[in-house]
C-alpha cells in the first residue's frame, strides 16, 4: 500500500499546477517512463515496489481530483502488482528440455517501455519535420480554372478505398430527411437484386453513372441502402469499377469493361479486401 509520506511529497507540487501536469502523460507507459526518469532508475532493473507505489499515488491524485481514471491506467496498475507478486514467488522448476534461465517477470514490461519510448521519440522527430502548412508552404492552387469532367482529368482517376465510399454514403444519408411517421401507404420494397439489375441496365445505355446522383434519386433510406449494397456487391464480383476524379470529387461508376478499354487497365479501381 502506498505510504502517505511518499504520496504527498512526490506530487505535492503537482497538485496546484495540476491541469498542466496531467496533459503531459499520454498513457500509463508515458507515466511510467516519467517516474523512471524522475527517480533516475535503470530501466533494465526497475524496483517494482517503488515504481508501483508512486504510480498508485498518481492514480490516487487523479481520483481525488475527480478525473475519470482511464481503464488503461488501471490495467497497468494491476500489471505492476502482478509483476511484483511474481517476483516474490519462488521460481517454478524449469521444465525438461527447456533450457535457459526463466525470464525475469519484468522483461516484458521493460520491452514495452523501451519500444514505447522509441516510438514516442520517433513521433517527436516527425513533429520536428518541416511540416507543410506549418513550416513550409506551397503555391495555393486556385480552383477557378479547375477542370470539370472525366476526360480532362489531370492524373487520371484516383483510386478510392472502402473508407471513401462509406464516407460518401454517410454524407448522402445525412442529406435525406428523416423518416416521416405519418406515412402509412405501403412502399414498394426494392431488393438488392433489383438494384443490381437496375444499375446494370442503366450502365448499358450510359457510359457511366454518378454515385451521388444515383443514390440521391432514391426517395428513402431503404432504397438508398439497397443501391449502396448493390454497388458493393457489383464491385466485389468485378462487374463495375468505381473511380473518383479528385479528392472529395464526384465518384463515378463504370462497367468494368469500358474502364479497361479507356484506361488501358492502369487505373486500379476499388478492390475490397
Amino acid at each position: 500500500m502506498p505510504s502517505e509520506a511518499v504520496g504527498t511529497s512526490l506530487f505535492e507540487g503537482a497538485v496546484q499546477g495540476y491541469n498542466v501536469k496531467l496533459d503531459v502523460f499520454e498513457g500509463p507507459l508515458d507515466l511510467l517512463l516519467h517516474l523512471i526518469r524522475k527517480n533516475e532508475l535503470d530501466i533494465h532493473d526497475i524496483p517494482i515496489a517503488l515504481i508501483t507505489r508512486q504510480y498508485l499515488d498518481y492514480l490516487k491524485i487523479m481520483k481525488e481530483l475527480n478525473l475519470d481514471l482511464a481503464g488503461d491506467f488501471l490495467l497497468m496498475a494491476s500489471t505492476l502488482l502482478q509483476i511484483k507478486s511474481r517476483l516474490l514467488l519462488p521460481l517454478p522448476e524449469p521444465e525438461e528440455g527447456e533450457g535457459g534461465e526463466p525470464e525475469d517477470p519484468r522483461a516484458e514490461l521493460v520491452r514495452r517501455l523501451l519500444e514505447y519510448q522509441r516510438y514516442r521519440d520517433a513521433g517527436l522527430d516527425l513533429g520536428a519535420c518541416k511540416l507543410l502548412g506549418r513550416d513550409v508552404f506551397v503555391h495555393p492552387c486556385s480552383d477557378v480554372c479547375s477542370m470539370e469532367g472525366i476526360t480532362k482529368s489531370d492524373d487520371g482517376p484516383l483510386e478510392l478505398d472502402l473508407y471513401d465510399l462509406a464516407e460518401a454514403f454517410n454524407r448522402l444519408l445525412s442529406c435525406i430527411p428523416a423518416a416521416r411517421a405519418h406515412e402509412v401507404a405501403p412502399r414498394d420494397v426494392l431488393s438488392i437484386v433489383d438494384a443490381i439489375s437496375e444499375i446494370l441496365d442503366r450502365l448499358e445505355n450510359q457510359e457511366y453513372l454518378e454515385f451521388e446522383i444515383l443514390l440521391l434519386e432514391s426517395p428513402d433510406q431503404e432504397r438508398m441502402i439497397a443501391f449502396f449494397l448493390a454497388i458493393l456487391e457489383l464491385c466485389r464480383i468485378k462487374l463495375i469499377k468505381i473511380l473518383q476524379n479528385s479528392r472529395y470529387g464526384a465518384i463515378y461508376i463504370f462497367p468494368s469493361t469500358t474502364v479497361e478499354a479507356d484506361l488501358d487497365g492502369d487505373a486500379d479501381a476499388v478492390t475490397f479486401p
Binding site: G71, L114, D121, A122, G123, D125, G133
Partner: protein, 189 residues
Amino acid sequence: MQSPSLKATVEGLLFVSDGPTSLDRLAELLPEYDRAAIRISLQELRDGYEERGSGFTLVEVAGGWQLRSRPELTPYLSRMFKGRPVRFTQSALETLAIVAYRQPVTRQEIEYLRGVDTGAVLKSLLEKRLIKILGKKEIPGRPLIYGTTREFLEVFNLKDIKGLPTLREIQSLDEIPVYEVQEELPLVI
C-alpha cells in the same frame, strides 16, 4: 520568338502543378525531351534557387518534385495563414510514428505499443487522410490494418517512406521479433 528552354518549361509546369509532380509525369508531359535531360533540369533548377537565395526551393517530396517556400521564411509566411495552423498532438504523432514505421499495423498492435486506447486518434488521422485502411489482417477477428498515405509524405516533407528519420536504436536490448511479442497480446476490446 525563341522557343523556351527545357528548364523554363519544367519550371512552369512545377509552378502550375497542384501537388508534387513525379519525373514520370514530367516525362509523359514532355515527350519531345529526354527523360535524363528533364532530370538534369530539375537538379539545375534546385541548385539555381539555392544559389540565388530564392524565396522558394524545389524539393523532392512524396515521390515527386514540388516548389515549396524556403523554411527560413516561416515566421513571415505563417502570418499569412494565421487562422489555421497545422498542429499535431503528442498522441497523434506517436500513433503516426507507429503506423509509419510498422505498417501494415492493426489497431490492437498500436494500442499495445502505446498502452492506451487509440480509436479516436486513428479516426482523426483517417479523416485527415494521413493514414488509410489497407485491408484486413488474416487473423481471428480480421482486424483492419492501417498504413500511411501519400498525403502523409507530403505533409511531413518526406521523399518516400524510406525517407523517415531512422528509429533511434534501443540500447542493448535483445532483438526480439516484434510479432512474437504481439502473440501474447491480451485481448483489449
